[in-house]
């Protein structure tokens, strides 16, 4: 079975990562804009088959992935490669951190309505590259430089673009950096009390009142 990071605490991480999409869902005009953008893409991309095919779609998805769709898996897998070019640095390689498996787990903990919005957001992020910036290709098919450029443009784009690029970045970065194996490389100590053998002080003493004794 694939390892995932610290699963007991993933619900909080999932909620934090999904927050940008929740914001779009809450703001009615943006929600409509989100749907509107999807519709524009649908037309631009040729009706219902607006999801441009990609060679990536044929690649296998690990059986352990339970909550992400195949397309979401490939998008996040590609996003992790682009966002975390750790090769040649002291940072822990992606092969040792189950980033996408962690995201899969987090996504599984989201309430259904937010899960749905996250799916919509990821699909839009992937497919908008077909026309945004006239890449003519989905995000998963962009080369590294174009993919980073895509993130950068969206980070300073309109509200929807900012929210969606933040969504993808947050999922990937949180999924990576919350894994304790990544900390040593940046010399973050993580939990220390046990390692340092700290004494447990227990409850503070009761303030002394006259005529009373603390037992």
């Amino acid at each position: 079975m694939t390892r995932t990071t610290n699963t007991s605490s993933s619900a909080g991480a999932a909620a934090q990562a999904a927050a940008p999409i929740v914001s779009l869902g809450r703001r009615r005009f943006l929600r409509h804009a989100l749907l509107g953008s999807a519709a524009v893409l649908a037309v631009a991309g040729g009706g219902f088959a607006w999801l441009r095919r990609s060679p990536v779609d044929q690649l296998p998805v690990p059986e352990t992935i339970r909550h992400l769709s195949d397309a979401e898996y490939h998008l996040l897998h590609r996003a992790a490669q682009v966002l975390l070019p750790v090769a040649g640095s002291a940072l822990v390689p992606l092969s040792q951190v189950p980033v996408v498996a962690n995201i899969d787990h987090m996504v599984g903990l989201l309430p259904a309505h937010i899960r749905k919005q996250v799916g919509m957001g990821l699909t839009l992020f992937d497919n908008a590259a077909v026309i945004a910036g006239w890449h003519g290709r989905r995000f998963v098919d962009l080369d590294d430089a174009a993919a980073v450029d895509y993130f950068d443009r969206w980070a300073s784009g309109n509200s929807i673009q900012r929210a969606l690029s933040t969504l993808v970045k947050r999922f990937v970065y949180i999924a990576y950096w919350r894994d304790p194996v990544t900390w040593e490389a940046v010399e973050f100590d993580g939990p220390v009390s046990e390692r340092w053998g700290l004494a447990y002080l227990g409850n503070a003493p009761l303030p002394q009142e006259q005529g009373e004794e603390r037992a």
Partner: protein, 535 residues
């Protein structure tokens, strides 16, 4: 002589599991008590302690779970999931301003940074004179601050509690000629783990979990966790108890419904939940101020990179404050650097190689949180019916508030550059950094208020207050100077919602002082409040 037994560790708490297991309790529980306290955070715990100590029968109902310190893992993600409200993702209605809050036995004190600050005397004097709240006159309230301070080992940080991040702030202040000082914290023998926001595993932070709650329990107060109060019950203009739902903290499934009959109801659910409870309970609101006037004490985090490694995440989380601008402009600055996962949430990250460079230099980072005094224009409201409605938190910065925050960020950046920073990361949604103080203004120009100040600066609020403000005028305020809700006998408030105005100080200490005063007011009016009216 009375002998009082304080447990060495932990607090005796009834949980949903206990209710489920106890055949005598069943699906409906009725309880009678003299005082029911809603919420076990800074305010609620203090009231419970004071009233139980005075011999009153006290029942505390807390919607969050009981999470004993021994279960803390020093992993912020775990704590967020277990004890932060909505797993640390409580946002305003546009979801760009984060409002974290504790939801557990001990409330936000469990996850606080331990900073204890008194509002400036000039403000307290004004409240006494202009708002007719004489209990805040500095000469009167000083002894209560001192008492609360003693109870919790409040002390100014000593040299070993000032870490490398803080030293950069000190150096910058010295160069700029800004006044700074070590912060005061409520910590006993701080072990310098830096994990305050994840809960203090070895019980050194004097949260309510290890102070007022075990003390209250030692005096006989009973505590229920997993118990969400849905409504305050009124009869004939008087509070007569509350209704609550006990839920399994893992699944959220309802375990039992509880009705508590009480002679006095004290609501201390915090600045966001208290007004919601009053609204759900349809408490008379002749002032129309319930849930209004919310001061959010917004802050932004400015990060700086230095040539040399600092390990600024080690040591006491908060070391020093810059107090130069507190009285004149309402700015507060606290040194602090978040752990990696939290950095990903708090600040916008660049993509790819730039992010890798940033994290490779994590140990070279220093952080400074710049807080600004806001206008107290936020609102909290309950929309819809009791069962299916939802809360709405509304606050976005006005142009003036936005400009203040931006100015605060600029001051923080200047302090860091004065201390030799090579790069400063601006607290904006768009990743922006500055490599020299001369570029600062130009970069700041790129951060504009735009549409309602949304998604521009990255703003957090840890210390909302003032949503049920105290005052003498029942058409302008929610509670009277004793803390009792105008027009509802026996219903008292004792939390951050009571603060009469936005304060330029971390509020924890003031909230506890107000709660102590409210408890003493209750005792002083015992004859009109309790069937057994002895004071």
């Amino acid at each position: 002589m009375r002998i009082i037994n304080v447990p060495r560790e932990g607090v005796p708490v009834f949980t949903a599991e206990d209710v489920r297991r106890d055949p005598a309790m069943g699906r409906r529980v009725n309880v009678k008590t003299e005082v029911v306290v809603v919420g076990s955070g800074a305010g609620g715990a203090m009231v419970a302690y004071e009233l139980a100590k005075a011999g009153r029968q006290v029942l505390v109902l807390e919607s969050g779970r009981y999470y004993p310190s021994a279960r803390f893992t020093e992993h912020l993600g775990d704590t967020m999931t277990q004890v932060y409200r909505e797993q640390g993702s409580q946002f305003n209605s546009t979801a760009d301003v984060l409002f974290p809050e504790g939801q557990c036995i001990g409330g936000s004190t469990v996850i606080g940074a331990g900073v204890m600050q008194r509002p400036p005397d000039s403000l307290l004097q004004r409240w006494a004179n202009e708002l007719s709240l004489p209990q805040f006159a500095p000469a009167t309230v000083a002894s209560v601050f001192a008492e609360v301070g003693r109870e919790q080992f409040v002390h100014l940080n000593e040299a070993h509690e000032i870490n490398a991040t803080a030293h950069k702030v000190i150096k910058g202040c010295e160069k700029m000629g800004f006044s700074w000082k070590p912060v005061a914290r409520n910590v006993r023998q701080c072990a310098l783990t830096g994990h305050c926001l994840a809960g203090c595993l070895s019980d050194r932070k004097m949260s309510s979990l290890v102070t007022y709650l075990p003390w209250a329990a030692a005096y006989g107060a009973r505590l229920f966790a997993d118990c969400h109060v849905s409504r305050v019950l009124l009869r004939g203009g008087r509070a007569v108890g509350v209704e609550a739902v006990v839920r399994d903290p893992q699944t959220g499934a309802e375990v039992s419904r509880m009705r508590v009959d009480a002679e006095v109801v004290v609501v201390a659910g915090g600045a966001m939940q208290t007004p919601l409870l009053l609204q759900r309970s349809q408490i008379p609101d002749s002032s129309g101020q319930i849930g209004r006037n919310m001061a959010v004490q917004p802050f932004v985090q400015v990060l700086a990179q230095y040539e040399e490694p600092l390990y600024g995440f080690r040591g006491a989380l908060v070391g020093v404050e810059i107090d130069e601008f507190m009285e004149s402009d309402g700015y507060m600055f606290f040194s602090a650097l978040a752990e990696p996962e939290q950095l990903m949430v708090q600040g916008e990250q660049a993509a790819g190689a730039e992010h890798i460079e940033f994290m490779k230099r994590y140990r070279h980072l220093a952080g400074l949180n710049a807080f600004a005094l806001d206008e107290g224009r936020g609102t909290v409201s309950w929309e819809g019916d009791l069962e299916t409605g939802r809360k709405v938190i509304s606050w976005n910065p006005s142009q003036a508030e936005f400009d203040k925050l931006k100015h605060g960020a600029a001051l923080a950046a200047r302090v860091f550059f004065a201390a030799g920073a090579k790069r400063v990361h601006m607290p904006s949604f768009r990743p922006l950094h500055v490599d020299s103080v001369f570029e600062l203004d130009h970069t700041l120009d790129q951060i504009s208020h735009g549409l309602k100040g949304m998604y521009s600066l990255r703003i957090n609020s840890f210390s909302a207050h003032g949503t049920c403000r105290m005052g003498t005028d029942r058409f302008q305020s929610v509670a009277n100077p004793q803390g009792e809700v105008h027009d509802v006998k026996g219903l008292f408030l004792a939390d951050a919602s009571l603060l009469p105005e936005p304060i330029p100080a971390a509020p924890h200490w003031t909230v506890q002082v107000m709660a102590k005063q409210v408890a003493r007011n209750i005792l002083a009016s015992a004859s009109g409040l309790f069937l057994d009216g002895n004071a």
